[in-house]
């Protein structure tokens, strides 16, 4: 069976510079891929192309076999995406917002209600379902974004910094959630937090200046230096050829 996420020679050039340069990798069911890199390395741009938001300059990506450029709606059906910064409509209530994304995904009636309730339970939003999103703290907003990505129980999850802004307990919860879902899905998470990679990821890709510099399980990465921090610094500052 083909991998759930296939990225093929994906390239994005903006006026004057290349944000993502010939990136290829695939993610199988059961894998949790940690997508690492310094700010501006092309993590978010890669994820946006994978989610079918930014059109690639060259190359393509497939989600469950559906090409994100050729069959965008098909591809997006199998995808749960948490965009950078977890954007949501501030004036909507938590339940209203989740029902909106559910309705777009074609759920109606009792199924919609079940899906919304389940997503809120997974992300512990039950207590604030009727609060307007703009009144919530950063951590809650992030979890609303996460709930939206999980609502339809997609086979592929792409999460851009899912634990950013969460307190340590919430971080723990989200990591537990990701670990629980991992066997069923192909998951890509981007993060700055290196300990997170060791905690939840089965594989890590480090990207710098738009190119993949390393693709290995976290345990292998750690063996390369005294700590993950150290390895990350050496790889992304370009002092070690790989």
């Amino acid at each position: 069976m083909a991998a759930l996420i296939e990225i093929e020679r994906l390239t994005k050039r903006f006026a004057g510079f290349t944000a993502v340069d010939d990136v290829s990798f695939s993610v199988e069911r059961g894998e949790v891929l940690g997508f690492l890199g310094p700010n501006g390395a092309g993590k978010s741009t890669t994820m946006r192309m994978l989610a079918g938001f930014t059109p690639p300059t060259a190359g393509t990506a497939r989600i469950c076999g559906a090409d994100v450029v050729e069959q965008p709606v098909e591809a997006k059906r199998s995808l749960g995406f948490l965009p950078e910064g977890a954007p949501t409509y501030p004036e909507m209530t938590v339940a209203g917002f989740l029902a909106f994304t559910g309705r777009i995904r074609g759920y109606r009636g009792s199924e919609l209600a079940d899906r919304t309730a389940h997503a809120m339970a997974l992300t512990q939003l039950d207590g604030i379902r009727l609060q307007p999103i703009e009144t919530l703290s950063k951590g809650f907003k992030r979890r609303v974004g996460l709930a939206q990505a999980l609502l339809h129980d997609p086979p592929v999850l792409v999460l851009d910094e899912p634990t950013d802004g969460l307190d340590p307990n919430q971080k723990h919860e989200v990591r537990e959630l990701i670990r629980r879902m991992a066997p069923e899905k192909a998951i890509v998470i981007s993060t700055h937090i290196l300990e997170e990679v060791g905690a939840v990821c089965t594989r890590a890709i480090i990207i710098a200046r738009g190119k993949v510099v390393v693709d290995a399980p976290p345990s292998v990465l750690e063996e390369r230096g005294s700590s993950l921090d150290d390895v990350f610094r050496r790889l992304t500052l370009g002092q070690e050829a790989t």
């Binding site: 989610a51 994304t101 309705r103 307007p132």
Partner: protein
């Protein structure tokens, strides 16, 4: 289509969840009323019709409609929700159409709230209610034309002030194209352009509706105008969404 209606429903609820709806509707009603009774000389004319009201509508919408449309895409960009909306499984045209329909329905609500004027003329005399209805249809179509144009402009820039100013300028172009000042000037200098200007004029098309004539060619004209700018909107969005 279902996805477009879902987007429209969310958008429309969004207007009423924020002060946008109240401010827009109150200002619209105050201005429409004030212009009708003062400049329009509603009572002094001694005629039971809504001609003074309808004659101000294209000019009032000229400023108010771009105020609605300037935030359509700019706001989504500012909040980053454009990335959420366009990564949900819906075709891009559905998002464009949904936003347009919500704004249009909103204008329809604002227009419907001018009903006291209609009641007034019916108490004071016996107007031809068919003509009044056709006038309202015309108002709605003018709003739709301006909305489609403004929404396309809004997709072009992330700056709301620029979106507003350009949309007002373009709407003015289409509103004024058929006015005597423009056409007489063109008639004497460039007769070819005068004919084109008359054909492009929103105000000219609207004129028929206020006289009670709902002509198929005018309906088709408005439908093509709206359709064309929605198409432009979708194309622009596709190219600039990630900027």
């Amino acid at each position: 289509m279902r996805a477009a209606l879902t987007v429209a429903r969310r958008e429309l609820a969004g207007y009423f969840a924020t002060p946008v709806a109240t401010v827009f509707i109150v200002i619209f009603l105050v201005l429409a009323g004030a212009l009708t009774f003062t400049l329009g000389n509603f009572f002094g004319r001694g005629q039971a019709d809504l001609v003074p009201f309808f004659s101000f509508i294209p000019w009032l919408f000229l400023f108010l409609v771009p105020a609605l449309t300037m935030r359509l895409w700019a706001e989504e960009r500012r909040l980053g929700t454009i990335e959420l909306l366009l990564t949900l499984p819906l075709p891009q045209w559905a998002a464009v159409l949904g936003k347009f329909l919500a704004a249009w329905a909103f204008c329809g609500i604002a227009l419907a709230l001018t009903f006291p004027l209609w009641i007034t003329v019916n108490i004071l005399g016996s107007p031809d209610n068919g003509v009044i209805l056709s006038g309202y249809v015309g108002c709605l179509l003018v709003a739709g034309a301006y909305l489609a144009l403004g929404a396309a402009v809004s997709a072009l820039t992330r700056n709301q002030v620029i979106a507003f100013v350009i949309a007002v300028a373009l709407c003015f172009l289409f509103a004024a194209a058929g006015s005597p000042v423009v056409t007489e000037f063109l008639d004497t200098r460039l007769p070819v352009l005068a004919e084109i200007a008359r054909n492009l004029s929103v105000a000219d098309r609207f004129g028929g509706f206020t006289r009670g004539i709902i002509a198929a060619r005018d309906l088709i004209w408005f439908a093509s105008f709206i359709g064309f700018f929605l198409f432009v909107n979708a194309v622009v969005l596709d190219h600039r969404k990630a900027d």
